[in-house]
C-alpha cells in the first residue's frame, strides 16, 4: 500500500496522476492537514462548554440513572445471611443456620463506628418493599449482642416479621447489587408471593396515572400556547418594526419577573376570594356561593403554566413568520385564492417549522415543570415532577425518584425521536 502510494506520488508513472500541491505533497493530504487545524480550533472553542456540560449535566444524569438501579444496602449489611440463604426455596422460615449468619452480620455491624453502620439503610431499604421492616430491623439489632442460640427463636421473639417467609423473600430478592424494584414501583407494580410482577391494588396506583396526566396537561398547555400565540405572533410579524418591538416587550415581560412572583400573582388573581371571583360576584355574574375554583386544581396549573410558557411559543413563531414575505400571500390572492385559502395553503405551511419548534420547547419544558404545579396545582393539578420532588425531599426514597426521573427522560427522548422522524429536527427554527 505504501509502495503504491509512493509510486503514485513520484508522478513519473504516466497512468496515475494525482493532484499535488506546489511542494509535492498530495493535495488530499495537505487539505486534511489544513482541515485538521481548523477542526482542532473548533474543538478548542467548544471544549469549555463541553466540559461544563459533562460535569454538571451529563454526569448527574448518569448518576441519577445509576441510582435508580443501584441496590447496595442489603448486600453491604447482610453478606453472611445472603450466603446462607442461597438455595432456600422461599416457602418456609429459613433454618437456624441463616439466623446464626444474621446474628453474626448484625454483631459485626455493631462493632463498626456509628457512621459506618449499615443496619439503618438496610431497614429503610427493606421498608420500601415491606412496611414495618424498618421497625423489625431497628428493634432487633440492639438486642443481638445478648442473643443466645437458638437464634431463630431469639429473632422471632424479638419481632414477628423474622418469622414471616415473605420478609425473607424480600431480603433474598433485594440481596443483589442491582434491582428493578424501583422501576417496578414507579410503574405501579409490585412482586406477588411467587415473585411475579403484578399490578398494584387500584387504590395504590399513583405514578402511571400521574404520568398520563402530566402528558395530557403538557399537550393541553402546548396546544393552548399555540392557540394563543399564533395570532399574536402573526400580528407582530405584519406590524412595522417599531410597534412589533413594543408588543414583543409585552410578550417578554413575564421573563423579566421572577417565576415565583408571577405564580404568586396568579394566586392573588385566581383564588376563591381572589380578584377574578370578586369581580364576577360584584358585577352579579355569579352568586357568592358559586365562586369558581380556579386554583389548587388542574385549572390553576393550566392557566398559570400557559401564561408562563407562552413566550416560548411566540418567539420561534414570530421569528419564522417575520421571514415570510407578505408577497406570498399577495401572490396567492392574485392567483385567485380567497384570503382563507391563501392563508391555509400558502402561509400556514411555511410557519410549520416555527410551530414545531415552539411546540417542542413548550412541551418539553412543561412535562418536567415543578414549581407552578406545586404552588397552584393542588391535588388534581400535580404533575410527575412534584412526585419526584416529594421522593427527593420528604420520603427520601431517591431510588424511586431516580426511576421516575429516568422514565420521564426516556419518555421525552422517545417523543423527540418521534418528532424528528415525523417532522425532522432540521426544520426546527428557534430564531
Amino acid at each position: 500500500m505504501a509502495q503504491a502510494d509512493a509510486g503514485a506520488l513520484d508522478g513519473r508513472d504516466g497512468n496515475v496522476t494525482r493532484m499535488v500541491t506546489a511542494d509535492g505533497i498530495p493535495l488530499k493530504r495537505s487539505l486534511q492537514r489544513a482541515e485538521r487545524r481548523r477542526k482542532i480550533a473548533a474543538l478548542l472553542l467548544v471544549t469549555p462548554l463541553l466540559a461544563f456540560l459533562l460535569i454538571v449535566f451529563l454526569f448527574p444524569i448518569g448518576q441519577m440513572m445509576w441510582r435508580s438501579v443501584d441496590n447496595p444496602q442489603v448486600v453491604n449489611a447482610l453478606p453472611r445471611t445472603l450466603n446462607a440463604l442461597e438455595g432456600w426455596d422461599g416457602s418456609e422460615v429459613p433454618s437456624e443456620e441463616v439466623f446464626a449468619a444474621l446474628a453474626a452480620d448484625f454483631r459485626e455491624d455493631l462493632q463498626r463506628p456509628r457512621a459506618d453502620q449499615t443496619w439503618g439503610p438496610l431497614g429503610v431499604r427493606l421498608n420500601y418493599e415491606l412496611s414495618a421492616a424498618r421497625g423489625a430491623v431497628a428493634r432487633t439489632v440492639r438486642n443481638v449482642p445478648d442473643f443466645e442460640p437458638p437464634y431463630r427463636e431469639a429473632f422471632t421473639d424479638s419481632h414477628r416479621l423474622w418469622g414471616d417467609p415473605a420478609f425473607w423473600r424480600v431480603i433474598q430478592r433485594e440481596g443483589r447489587p442491582l434491582t428493578a424494584s424501583y422501576y417496578v414501583a414507579a410503574l405501579d407494580r409490585e412482586y406477588d408471593d411467587e415473585g411475579n410482577i403484578v399490578r398494584r391494588d387500584e387504590n395504590r396506583r399513583i405514578y402511571v396515572g400521574l404520568f398520563m396526566r402530566t402528558l395530557a396537561l403538557s399537550l393541553g398547555i402546548t396546544f393552548l400556547t399555540f392557540a394563543l400565540g399564533f395570532p399574536i405572533a402573526y400580528y407582530m410579524s405584519i406590524l412595522p418594526m417599531r410597534h412589533a418591538n413594543l408588543l414583543m416587550i409585552c410578550v417578554l415581560l413575564p421573563f423579566w419577573t421572577s417565576l415565583l412572583v408571577r405564580t404568586t400573582a396568579w394566586i392573588v388573581l385566581l383564588q376563591q376570594q381572589g380578584v377574578i371571583n370578586e369581580v364576577l360576584v360584584n358585577i352579579g355574574l355569579i352568586g357568592d356561593d358559586g365562586r369558581f375554583s380556579l386554583m389548587y386544581n388542574m385549572y390553576g396549573t393550566i392557566i398559570a403554566m400557559t401564561h408562563i410558557l407562552l413566550p416560548f411559543m411566540v418567539l420561534p413563531l414570530y421569528s419564522v413568520m417575520r421571514t415570510i414575505p407578505p408577497s406570498y400571500l399577495r401572490a396567492a390572492k392574485s392567483l385567485g385564492a380567497t384570503p382563507t385559502t391563501a392563508f391555509r395553503r400558502v402561509y400556514f405551511p411555511q410557519t410549520l417549522p416555527g410551530i414545531g419548534a415552539g411546540a417542542v420547547l413548550v412541551f418539553i419544558i412543561s412535562i418536567g415543570y415543578y414549581i407552578t404545579p406545586a404552588l397552584v396545582g393542588g391535588q388534581s393539578g400535580r404533575m410527575i415532577s412534584n412526585e419526584i420532588a416529594r421522593h427527593m425531599q420528604q420520603s427520601l426514597n431517591w431510588g424511586l425518584a431516580a426511576a421516575l426521573g429516568s422514565i420521564l427522560l426516556v419518555g421525552v427522548l422517545i417523543l423527540y425521536w418521534a418528532y424528528n422522524r415525523l417532522v425532522g429536527a432540521d426544520n426546527l427554527k428557534l430564531g
Binding site: R330, S334, T341
Partner: protein
C-alpha cells in the same frame, strides 16, 4: 396606437389619487387608459408612485379617490382574488413549500379545475417558458432566471387577460435580463395579453413597451411610445430621465413660431425648438441628445466651441466631455471608426447642432 381612445380603454385610471398618511399624495390625479393587448410600462424613479398604481390595479391597495375600471367595470370594491389579474412579483414569490408544478397548478386548483385539465395547462405553460422538465423541482433548486420563468408561467397559466409585472427582472444579471426582456416581449406578442409593467430601468422600458408612462412625483410626466419619448421629451424631467442628455440653461429672449432663441447664462445664444416654454423672458432648460451634436459641422443652426475635458473609451464609440456654454458636462459621442476624427484632451472643438434637435423645455 392602441388604447389612445380613453373611453374604450381596457384598463382605465380615472382621476385616481392615493395617500397613505392623509397628508401627502403618493399618486396625484392619475388618468390613464390602457388598450387591450397593449404592453404598457410605468417607468419612474423609486418613490414616483408607479408601484402604488400597480398595487391599486392588483387590488392590494385601495385608491383614496377616483375609479379604476377594468373592461369598463369599476373594480375598486372587488377583492384581489376576484379580479382575475395575473401578477409577477419582484422576488417571484414562488411558494417554497410547493414544487414548480404545484405552484403552477395552484391558481387552477383554487378555480376548481379538474386534475387532467390542470396537468395539461401546467404542462403547456411550462413548455411556453421552456421549463418543461422542471415540474418536480422546488423553487429553491432553480436559478434566478429559471425562477423568473416559472413566476411568469404561473401568472399566465390561468389565462388572465391582464398581467401585471412589478420589476420582474430586477434581480437578474445584465445578460439574463436582456434575454428575459426578449422572451417576455415574445410571449406578449404570442398571447395577445395586456401587460402592465413597472420598472425603473429605462432601457428595459424602451425595449419592451408599446407605450411608456413616465412617472415622477405622483404624476405621469409623459405618456408616449418609446421613440416619441426619446426623440420628443416634453419636459426637462423626461429628457433627463430617458437616455443621455445634455442640458443647457438660459432665458428665452425671442419666440418665433415653433422656434425660440435662448440666451445662456454665459451670454451665448442658442436657437431651439419651443416645446414647453412659458414665453419670452421665462427661464428654460435646453435638452440636446449627445448623438445629435456633430463635430466641425459645415453648416449648423448653432455653432459653439468647446474645450475637451475628458475622453471615455467605450469600444464602439468615445464619449467626449466638453465644456460648452458654461456646462462642463456637455457630452459628445464620437464614433470609433477607422477613418474617424481623433480627439485629444485639451483640444478646442467646434461643435454644431440643428435647432430642431435642441428642445427648449420648462426650467427644472
Amino acid at each position: 396606437m392602441v388604447g389612445n381612445d380613453h373611453d374604450t380603454a381596457f384598463v382605465k385610471f380615472d382621476r385616481v389619487q392615493k395617500s397613505y398618511d392623509g397628508e401627502t399624495l403618493v399618486v396625484k390625479d392619475l388618468n390613464l387608459g390602457i388598450g387591450k393587448g397593449e404592453f404598457m410600462t410605468m417607468l419612474g424613479p423609486s418613490g414616483s408612485g408607479k408601484t402604488t398604481c400597480l398595487m391599486m390595479l392588483a387590488g392590494f391597495e385601495t385608491a383614496t379617490f377616483g375609479d379604476i375600471l377594468l373592461d369598463g367595470k369599476p373594480i375598486n370594491n372587488i377583492p384581489p382574488h376576484k379580479r382575475g389579474i395575473g401578477m409577477v412579483f419582484q422576488n417571484y414569490a414562488l411558494f417554497p413549500h410547493m414544487t414548480v408544478g404545484e405552484n403552477l397548478s395552484f391558481p387552477l386548483e383554487v378555480r376548481g379545475m379538474g386534475k387532467d385539465e390542470r396537468e395539461k395547462k401546467v404542462k403547456r405553460a411550462l413548455d411556453m417558458v421552456e421549463m418543461g422538465k422542471f415540474g418536480g423541482r422546488r423553487p429553491a433548486q432553480l436559478s434566478g432566471g429559471q425562477q423568473q420563468r416559472i413566476a411568469l408561467a404561473r401568472a399566465l397559466v390561468f389565462e388572465p387577460e391582464l398581467v401585471l409585472m412589478d420589476e420582474p427582472l430586477g434581480a437578474l444579471d445584465k445578460n439574463l435580463r436582456e434575454q428575459m426582456q426578449f422572451e417576455i416581449k415574445h410571449i406578449h406578442d404570442n398571447l395577445g395579453v395586456t401587460v402592465v409593467y413597472v420598472t425603473h430601468d429605462q432601457s428595459e422600458a424602451l425595449t419592451m413597451s408599446d407605450r411608456i408612462a413616465v412617472f415622477d412625483d405622483g404624476r405621469i410626466q409623459q405618456l408616449a411610445t418609446p421613440d416619441d419619448l426619446y426623440e420628443r421629451p416634453e419636459n426637462a424631467f423626461v429628457a433627463a430621465f430617458i437616455g443621455e442628455n445634455n442640458t443647457l440653461r438660459g432665458k428665452v429672449v425671442g419666440v418665433d413660431g415653433d422656434h425660440c432663441t435662448v440666451r445662456l447664462d454665459d451670454g451665448s445664444k442658442v436657437e431651439a425648438l419651443a416645446v414647453n416654454i412659458e414665453g419670452e423672458g421665462a427661464r428654460s432648460t435646453l435638452s440636446l441628445r449627445p448623438e445629435r451634436v456633430s463635430i466641425a459641422p459645415e453648416t449648423a443652426d448653432n455653432v459653439f466651441e468647446g474645450v475637451v475635458q475628458e475622453l471615455i473609451y467605450l469600444g464602439d464609440h468615445i464619449r467626449v466631455r466638453v465644456s460648452v456654454g458654461g456646462n462642463d458636462d456637455f457630452i459628445v459621442k464620437v464614433p470609433n471608426s477607422a477613418n474617424g476624427r481623433q480627439v485629444k484632451k485639451g483640444e478646442t472643438l467646434k461643435l454644431g447642432w440643428s435647432k430642431a434637435d435642441c428642445r427648449a423645455l420648462d426650467p427644472s
